[in-house]
């Protein structure tokens, strides 16, 4: 869902790497985000303790997810929230459409939400005559440009100020050309404010849903989220099943981890805690409030004890910011909604290994992501797991017709044979020492040699030298 029709990872990567402007935009943005995060988490011991708390809160919630979701449903219902379950993206889309149609709504205002990107909501609604306006500044920018988000927190991070200035001037009627940030903000604000009052339905995501109190927590910095959830007469909130936590007390550490990791803030400008539609006597808030709980493959992920950790994700985006691959190719190259390390792990699970397993190759397993993830998802281990499952060696066995290339399986078999037989190993080393320098530059060696001199195999291996040196070699 939401991906461009043909997924050509290699082509995407080459195009992105050739785009110097993209690289500069990303590098400066990522450097800024990394710096801010570091500044807000300036005590390493405290950060590690907090990460442990975050991890255990999310793990505890996942370990009794069905019960928590039922509790959430009961308490939301008691609060006047109408709860719906959607097993697939298509079901969730149809639910939103049905609510819009019930309201005879043709205009929807939307706050930033990755889950609506995951299900391709905007396209679906547009195809059915419902116009969606993105109200988050970044989302607004890329909607104008007709692009999907390239980052899960900063959707327009691939664009710099000049590019945005040109875009506004070209696409917003009457907008003058300006490169001043305040003026660009003012233009966006003017355009959006009017739309808020025209919006008949507001759509938002959810950062955390609290089971015990039946409340939805949403953080943001622009106030647009609050507008979307309070101004239109109907508010629809969508969330993946994994967003539920047990108690209100779980929120402070998780929020601190989320905002600190995402934007380097101690707290966001707006923290919305929504516990129902407008009650009699209240002055604002929607007349109706719907919550859509989306599965879309999540229960399958939950069933695997290792992969389950994927669902701990609080979508902070910091694994993207710290990823040396993401910073060079940007989010669009990944071809699906979730880019970067979490995308390499989540997308193959959502879309299948046959389609998206290749994403897991885009990592040097440098572990920068695992080191910063606020809920300690072992991203490198899960990336390796995707590779393993893609090679049909995972605990689940072969899946959805995904097979490794024959040459690769064969190459590793030979490698294993050589490395388990000292005689073969010695022979191999001797051959490499003699002929290694004359290996034809084909296949892997061609890829290697494009920017590097080929490795120079030693005439005598250390095995051979150790014997010569008279080392004890039992």
């Amino acid at each position: 869902m939401g991906e461009r029709p043909a997924f050509d990872f290699r082509g995407n990567i080459l195009r992105a790497l050739a785009d110097g402007q993209l690289r500069r935009n990303l590098q400066s943005a990522m450097d800024g985000l990394i710096r801010k995060r570091r500044a807000v988490f300036d005590d390493p011991a405290e950060l590690e303790a907090l990460r442990t708390v975050g991890q255990s809160l999310k793990q505890a919630a996942l370990s009794r997810l069905p019960a928590l979701l039922e509790e959430l449903e009961a308490n939301c219902t008691a609060n006047g929230i109408q709860v719906h379950w959607a097993e697939t993206a298509a079901e969730a889309n149809r639910l939103v459409l049905a609510i819009c149609q019930g309201e005879r709504a043709t205009r929807v205002v939307k706050g930033k939400s990755m889950v609506t990107e995951e299900i391709g909501l905007n396209h679906f609604l547009a195809d059915h005559g419902v116009e969606v306006l993105e109200t988050d500044l970044g989302e607004f920018i890329i909607q104008l440009a007709g692009e999907p988000p390239s980052h899960i927190i900063v959707p327009a991070v691939h664009k710099n100020r000049d590019q945005i200035a040109r875009l506004f001037h070209a696409r917003i009627p009457g907008a003058p050309y300006t490169e001043k940030v305040e003026e660009l903000n003012a233009i966006a604000r003017r355009t959006l404010r009017q739309k808020f009052f025209e919006g008949q339905v507001g759509v938002s995501g959810v950062n955390f849903a609290v089971a015990r109190t039946g409340s939805l927590c949403l953080v943001e910095n622009e106030g647009n989220g609050r507008m979307c959830t309070t101004v239109p007469p109907v508010h629809i909130a969508l969330m993946g099943l994994e967003k539920v936590v047990a108690r209100l007390e779980d929120l402070p550490p998780l929020l601190r981890l989320l905002t600190g990791s995402a934007t380097g803030q101690i707290v966001t400008t707006y923290v919305n805690l929504i516990s129902g539609p407008r009650r009699p006597g209240e002055k604002d808030g929607p007349r109706e409030l719907h919550l859509i709980l989306l599965d879309n493959g999540r229960s399958r992920i939950l069933a695997d004890p290792e992969l389950r950790q994927t669902l701990q994700c609080i979508r902070c985006g910091t694994c993207l910011n710290h990823c040396p691959v993401y910073v060079r190719i940007g989010g669009h190259a990944y071809g699906f909604v979730y880019p970067g390390p979490i995308g390499e792990v989540l997308t193959p699970q959502l879309e299948g290994l046959a389609r998206a397993g290749v994403l897991a190759t885009a990592s040097s397993l440098c572990q920068a992501c695992g080191e910063v993830c606020p809920v300690r998802i072992p991203l490198p281990d899960l990336i390796r797991r995707m590779r393993t499952d893609g090679a049909c060696q995972g605990p689940g066995g072969p899946e959805d017709g995904c097979r490794p290339p024959l040459w690769e399986s064969l190459a590793w078999k030979i490698w294993a044979l050589v490395n388990t037989h000292p005689g073969l190993n010695a022979l191999g080393n001797a051959l490499l020492g003699r002929f290694g320098r004359r290996l034809p530059r084909r296949g892997p060696l061609a890829a290697w040699s494009a920017v590097r001199t080929p490795p120079r195999f030693a005439p005598k291996s250390l095995h051979a030298l150790a014997v010569k040196e008279g080392l004890p070699h039992e």
Partner: protein, 252 residues
């Protein structure tokens, strides 16, 4: 995250685990590491049946093949002696991933015991042997490259640097993006050659910017990658493994 290891008292004998890259491409680095251990009075044993730690297959998604090779290593170092590895990355595989690789299998206990005996060469030199190095070389500016697994898995980069800092005539300079991967990543370099090339290209530019005459690192994968890229660009900066560098500066 892995717990820091507890260091044993100075032994009289150690095993040396060469790693496949040192064995075939950088044997002089291995010899230097061995000689420096011997100079501290240790007997260094080189088990003949050793080969590769298995990491290439493991990280490529072929744990069955990795396990077959790893099983060999478990058997090749039978006695209760420290196993010294001149690589943070292979060290990380042996210490942190072997138990994971054999989880739920009969070898799990053996893997645990094996893992506890593994030490990266520089960390062993510093913490167990507590070496004092006397620099005999001319003044030299050296850039240090931290391998990702030395940095984030073994966490021994400070040990490596502490050894370099003992060399009185050596000026150690830090890279602007020291903690960023050089783009090697085993099969990553050939499965995603364009991204890997961009990464090593930036690393080389970073190194060039320091004005260092030598690039020193504790991992031969990175060395092969960065050294190869330095040479390909025709730069005079020479890449070298930490052990070979220290041997060159302190012997004779």
């Amino acid at each position: 995250m892995p717990a820091p290891p507890s260091y044993p008292a100075k032994p009289t004998q150690v095993y040396f685990f060469a790693t496949c890259l040192v064995d075939t491409v950088y044997p002089e680095a291995g010899l230097a590491a061995i000689r420096l251990l011997q100079r501290e009075g240790l007997e260094v044993i080189f088990p003949k049946a050793q080969s590769c730690c298995g990491q290439p297959a493991y990280n490529a998604g072929f744990p069955r093949e990795a396990r077959a090779v790893a099983r060999r290593q478990l058997r090749a170092f039978p006695r209760d002696l420290p196993i010294i590895v001149p690589s943070g990355s292979c060290g990380g595989m042996l210490r942190h991933h072997y138990p994971y690789l054999f989880a739920g299998l009969p070898e799990w206990e053996a893997a645990q015991r094996f893992a506890a005996r593994v030490f990266e060469w520089g960390e062993f030199m510093r913490h167990v042997l507590q070496v004092r190095l006397e620099d005999r070389g001319p003044p030299l500016r050296v850039a240090w490259h931290s391998s990702c697994h030395a940095l984030r898995e073994m966490r021994i980069v400070e040990d490596s640097k502490a050894l370099v800092r003992q060399l009185a005539q050596v000026e150690l300079v830090e890279l602007a993006r020291e903690e960023e991967c050089c783009g090697f990543g085993g099969t990553f370099a050939v499965k995603q050659p364009a991204i890997s090339a961009a990464m090593v290209g930036d690393k080389v530019t970073d190194i060039q910017g320091t004005g260092a005459g030598r690039l020193v690192t504790g991992d031969c994968g990175c060395l092969m990658n960065i050294g190869g890229a330095l040479a390909h660009r025709g730069l005079a900066v020479q890449g070298q493994h930490l052990a070979e560098f220290i041997w060159e500066r302190t012997h004779g």
